[in-house]
Subunit: 251 residues, 2 copies
C-alpha cells in the first residue's frame, strides 16, 4: 500500500492532474434566462454546482460532456459547445469542496483541470431528472447570484460573457429561443434578459422594424386582458442573406 501511494504520487506529480468536464447550460423560460445547477448530495451542507465530473480515459472530451450532463441531470440531445479550460493551480481549495471530494475520490486534494461546455436551450423542451451525486437539479435565474462550488462562479460568468458576445454578433442565436410566432414584447424581454437591464421600447421597436428578417404577421394574440399584440416571425433565409453577406467588412 505504501508503494502504491508512492508511485501514484510519482506518476501524477509529473504531468497529470485529473481532468474533468463542467457544463453551463442556459435555458430560456419565455421570460428569463436561467442557468442549470445541481445541488450536491452532501451531508449537512447545501452546495450548488455546475453539472460536471471526471473524464473517463476511453472518452473524448465531447463525449464526457454529453455523458456527465446526462448522468447528473437527465438532459440529452442538446448541442454543447466547448468554450474554455480552467487550469488554475488552486481551483480546489475550499474545505467544503475537499470534504465532499473525500467522500467520492481517493485523493480529494489532487489538482483538477476542467474543460467547460455551454449550451442554450428552451427550458420547456426538456425534462430534468437528478441522478448520480446530484440530489436536485434546478434552473436558477441568472440575475440571482448564488455561491457555487470550486471556481464554478468564474466558469459560469465566463460562459455568460461568451454567450452575450455570441448573441451580439449572431442574433440568430436569440431568435432560435423564441417560438415561431412571437410578439415584440417577447423579443424585447429576451434581449433585456441578456443585456441585464431594461431597454427603451420605442427605440427597440424602431430598430426591429428596420430589419427585413423580422416580419409582421396578420395574426394577433388571443384571450389576453391587454390590447392583443401582433405576432412576428423570423425569416432565417433573409437573415442569412442580409446579415451574413459582407460580414468581412462590418467596419
Amino acid at each position: 500500500m505504501f508503494l502504491y501511494i508512492c508511485f501514484m504520487e510519482q506518476t501524477k506529480s509529473i504531468y497529470s492532474p485529473y481532468l474533468s468536464v463542467d457544463c453551463v447550460v442556459f435555458g430560456f423560460d419565455g421570460e428569463l434566462i436561467r442557468v442549470l445547477l445541481i445541488k450536491r448530495k452532501q451531508a449537512g451542507q447545501e452546495v450548488f454546482a455546475l453539472p460536471g465530473d471526471l473524464l473517463d480515459l476511453s472518452e473524448s472530451l465531447d463525449e464526457t460532456a454529453v455523458r456527465v450532463l446526462n448522468d447528473l441531470t437527465g438532459l440529452n440531445n442538446i448541442y454543447l459547445e466547448q468554450f474554455g479550460t480552467f487550469g488554475d493551480v488552486d481551483r480546489i481549495s475550499n474545505p467544503i469542496d475537499i470534504e465532499w471530494l473525500s467522500t467520492i475520490r481517493e485523493r480529494p486534494e489532487e489538482r483538477v483541470i476542467t474543460t467547460a461546455y455551454f449550451s442554450l436551450i428552451k427550458i420547456e423542451d426538456f425534462e430534468l431528472k437528478p441522478n448520480s451525486f446530484a440530489e436536485q437539479v434546478l434552473w436558477q435565474p441568472i440575475e440571482q447570484k448564488k455561491q457555487l462550488a470550486f471556481d464554478h462562479n468564474k466558469i459560469a460568468n465566463t460562459a455568460w460573457s461568451i454567450l452575450q458576445y455570441k448573441i451580439r454578433n449572431e442574433p440568430i442565436v436569440a431568435f432560435n429561443l423564441l417560438p415561431k410566432k412571437f410578439t415584440l414584447r417577447q423579443l424585447q424581454g429576451l434581449y433585456e434578459s441578456i443585456v441585464g437591464s431594461e431597454l427603451d421600447k420605442r427605440n427597440f421597436r424602431k430598430r426591429i422594424q428596420g430589419k427585413k428578417f423580422v416580419s409582421p404577421l396578420e395574426e394577433f394574440e388571443e384571450g389576453v386582458a391587454h390590447k392583443p399584440a401582433r405576432y412576428y416571425s423570423f425569416d432565417e433565409e433573409i437573415y442569412k442573406r442580409e446579415f451574413e453577406k459582407g460580414q468581412w467588412f462590418l467596419f
Copy 2:
C-alpha cells in the same frame, strides 16, 4: 520495476491522460499572415509542428503556454488567448510522432489532451530563437499548407477560423497589425490575406471611406516608383464610440 509500471498503469488509466499546451502564433509581415512552426529534432525525418509541450504540475495552463512558447521559440511578452482543448482519444496515432515521443518520454503512446492558445503579432517586433527540441523556428505563410505533427493541422485551422471570426466582429484586431500610418493598399492586403482571396479595390475603398475611424492624412508615400499613395490613420477612440455603441442591436 514491474510493480512500478503496474501502478502507473492503474493510476493513469483511471482519469489522467497527459496534458499539454500548443500555441498557434499568427504573424503579419506587412503583406501576409504567417503561422509560427517549429521543426523538430528528429533523426532522418523533417517534421513540423506547433510549439507545444507538457504541462508542469506547478503551473496554470496560461503559465505553461508562456513558458513553452518561450522555451521553444524565444518569443516572450506576447498576448496569448486560449481558444480550445483537443481531447480526441486517438490524437497520437502517427508512427512518426510516436517514434519521436519515445525519444523524449517514457510512455510515448500515452494519451495527451492539449489546450491550445493563439496570438496575432507583427513579425518585425519579435526575434525568434529555436531551443529545446526545436531545431528550427519559422514563419510559414498560411496559404502554403504543410503537413504538421499530431492533430496540429486541425488545431491551426481552428485557430485560423476563430481569428477570422474575431477580426470580422472586432476590426480593431486588424488595425492593430498595421503601422500608425498605412496606405489603403496595405489595409486591403491585410484583409485579402485574412479572407484568402482578392477583393475589389473600388468597393473596398468605398467602404473604408464611409468609416469615421479611418482618417486620410495629408501625408503621402515617398521614394516609390508608382504614384505615391496617401497615408491613413486609425482612430481608436472614434472606433470605440462608433463601433461598440449599440452592438447589442447589430441586427
